[in-house]
Amino acid sequence: MALDKPGEDYEGRTSYTHVGTRVDRPDGLDKVTGRAKFGADAHAPGMLHGAIVRSPHAHAKILKIDTSKAEALAGVKAVVTRADFATGLEGEEWNVLENVMASDTALYDGHALAAIAATSSLIARDAVKLVEVEYELLPHVTDVDEAMKPDAPVIRAGQQSKLVPEGMHPNVVNYYEGGHGDMDAGFAEADLVIERHFTTEAAHQGYIEPHAALATLGADGKGELWCCTQGHFIVQKTCAALVGIDTSQLRVTASEIGGGFGGKTTVFLEPLALALSRKSNRPVKMVMSRSEILRATGPTSSASMDIKIGMTKDGRITAGKGVFRLQGGAFPDAPAGMAAECSFAPYNLNAVSIEGYEVMANRPKQAAYRAPGSPMAAFAVESVVDELCKALELDPIETRLKNASREGTKAAYGPTWDRIGLVECLEAAQAHPHMQAPLRESEGRGVAAGFWFNHGGETSVSLALSEDGTAQISVGTPDIGGSRASMALMAAEILGIEYENIRVTVADTATLGYNDVSHGSRVTYASGLATINAAKDAVGKLCDRAAQRWGIDPEAVIWEDGCAKPAGPNAGQFDPMPLKEITQRMGRTGGPISGHFEATPEGAGVSFGVHIVDAHVDRETGKTSIDRYTVIQDAGKAVHPTYVEGQFQGGAAQGIGWALNEEYVYGEDGRLQNTVFLDYRIPVASDLPMIDTVIVEVPNPGHPFGVRGVGETGICPPLAAIANAVSGAVGVRMTSLPMSPPKILKALKEQ
């Protein structure tokens, strides 16, 4: 497999038997009857329940933790603090440990300081209240711009990368820059240059399933862990390091996962449950409350951005400059570089300059959230492009087409695009009836494009054939959106057996080689590619068995319609031999037949989408309602079109929430104010219209069937599309998210 050379994998099939059909998902029955087992649904004999002591302060030195009263409470079996975890960790593992269990300083409201296991969760919660912590309060900062000011409190000294320009505050921990061309010449060429400052607030992934884990760990260093995660292999690796055992001695099983969106790509409870289990010598289950999730897991970054774009009268973008400052909590790795890289991706520019600053603040460690960095960048850039179009009286789609990235375009962050589908998406938008529909009073239409890299990542898949001619597939990527159905469809296409005759299982860490997390829109692409290749590996072995039976050369056998066939008349005259006929005899013809594939595929194929939205603004209250919404996105090849639509719709809905109402609200005291769903306002059913979808299919050269990941791009355009619609509706340009009613009403009054 020439996976390092994208372009060699696409098979160029023109028709498919299984891929592209809308089959029922294999986990459907379990999920409509309530028997699907999610993170919190596991029990173990003798199980204890855990609870966590958390800091109420945004920044405080921990002078003393007295757990004696808690330990004395009847039913309490173990208490752990930082002293119960590994020492000497470095880099990301140290940061993860520091996030899940503070050492000497509480770095944000909700930071874990100790954990308790007791015979019931009520007792564990009562015990939490008995832990006495002495703090020395330190000054705190939660805003990204404030955190960069010279007088801002230093959150953690010595974290600054050498790349950061000299003289910047120690809270600026990393710096990215990219671009090409002559910026001055570019702006000089423009007829109009617009420069704007934008801010976005942190948004939480808002998965409905709380983090949950059930852990068993003995003094022998052997552990079992059940948890809801997007990637149990990274959980295995991280937890083993954090509790100081060998990776291979910890077996992790991924439960059904009740939403992740990037937020379940790291660990929170898992190492604590393991440490408590080791100390109590009992299985320990831990489940987060919603307020713990909002306070102490990883929302996305908040951002402060400056965008400057020049355009000629006829709509050509002459230069684009973006500066992106992203706050990532009290830890490095805010996706500022990715924001910068994604920002101008839809445009073919001669002059472009992008910069990203990673900033620390007294907030929880940010985690990935659907295309991390890209939505805020798209909000800023696509808003300015829209403003330029409006000022120059240009059509927003025509203008984007004129400047669109296409095959051969050099992106601001370096690569030159292979086949991409942006132009096709823009053309589909242009042709969509939505663009022609009439608008009512105080209603506007907004358009915006979005981009995401997509990802390959380490992948390993095994496929085993059964005697009865059916197949079972083990994948290592938790199914977050119906991927078991997609894997079975792709395998069915190769094996030539029915979809229903294939069972796909998310295998535990002891059963399969390492798999990267279900993130980066990588599962249908990478696990799909691995599934296809594992199936091909098995097909090769099936052909060998047929050749052996027929007494001909294995190269003279081909696989078609689920049967081995002689490659041509010269190979001999034999009836096609169906898969089942071969597997029935496999025990005595050489043994079990399996297929395997392991690789780090790198031809994920970037993804573009275009959204159209009609928004109405109540001029008297500033309230925005979304009246109509259309998502157009390139899927490369939609393996299961219904689930592709579902990803488009889900991304749009999350973007709508982020644009209008979702935000982290910190008080003066640095405490999170909105720690329940009542006040962290994700869209409810009555907030949204139907979300129309158009699946564009421009094959990805890096996948045998042309698949591109579709999971993340859908959240990138909505923020700007809605801002552009609001501007069209009532003439105010909203540059700060969320565009909540108080902000819009204020802008209307200042109009």
Partner: protein
Amino acid sequence: MKYHQPSSFADASAIAAGASGVTRYLAGGTDVLVQLRADLVTPDDLIDVKKIDGVHDIVRNSDDSWTIGVAVTGAEMSEHPALCQDWPGVVEAMDLIGSTQVQGRATLVGNLCNGSPAADSVPAMVAADISVTVIGPKGERTIKVEDMPTGPGRTVLEKGDIVTAVHVPSRGDNAGDAYLRFIPRTEMDIAVVGCAVNLRLDGDTITEARVSLGAVAPTVLLVQEAADAIIGTTLDDKALEALSKAAEAACNPINDKRGTIEFRVEVAGVLAKRAAKIAYARAKGKAV
């Protein structure tokens, strides 16, 4: 925590009066259980009132006034056509609280006794001139809803007091009420501003009015100036403008996670106008 299920208000009151720690009454539980789960309030004694006779009843009295039991849920009110016909504003205010699921449990009295200035049903009850009867160590008394709250989370009720019923006046002729609230979403939010208007007409002219605002001051407000602005008018543009100004002037809100001072004041005026129009149309016999 001790869980009690008394069979009379006298018993309930006696348990509360004799309790030494934190006491809470349980009707719908939509506030109490949230506080319990969040470890904000863990009562030592929880007194479930739902086994007391009559608490689930909606009764139309002989004088056409209404008595609503303390455990009657929002859903039960919405499903009562005659009550909806008489007091649509009160019913819709109650109905706006939480989800369908919350409506299956939440009660008027719970909403009132929770003491939130943003409670949706309270402005509607104030505008409708509703009162409650209370029994306690000092005997039985009647309290107007507008006199119940004394500040955020606080009411005039004292240790051992318990609300026994809600008394809704007779609707009478040519009258209507309405409640509107502002929330950023369409459902599931706490009011950023709430406004109830209750009025009576003689022909086209408003002869009686009560205007109440929620979430714009430490307690729900009864705004006499706002009522005065429309009494004697046909709710023409000038009256609406005066109403709006009076409503705005009455506001004394705070900046918080749900809204700014500026926004609340402005929207109070907007909602007052909109609610008044609905109440007026209802008084005219129109279905709104």
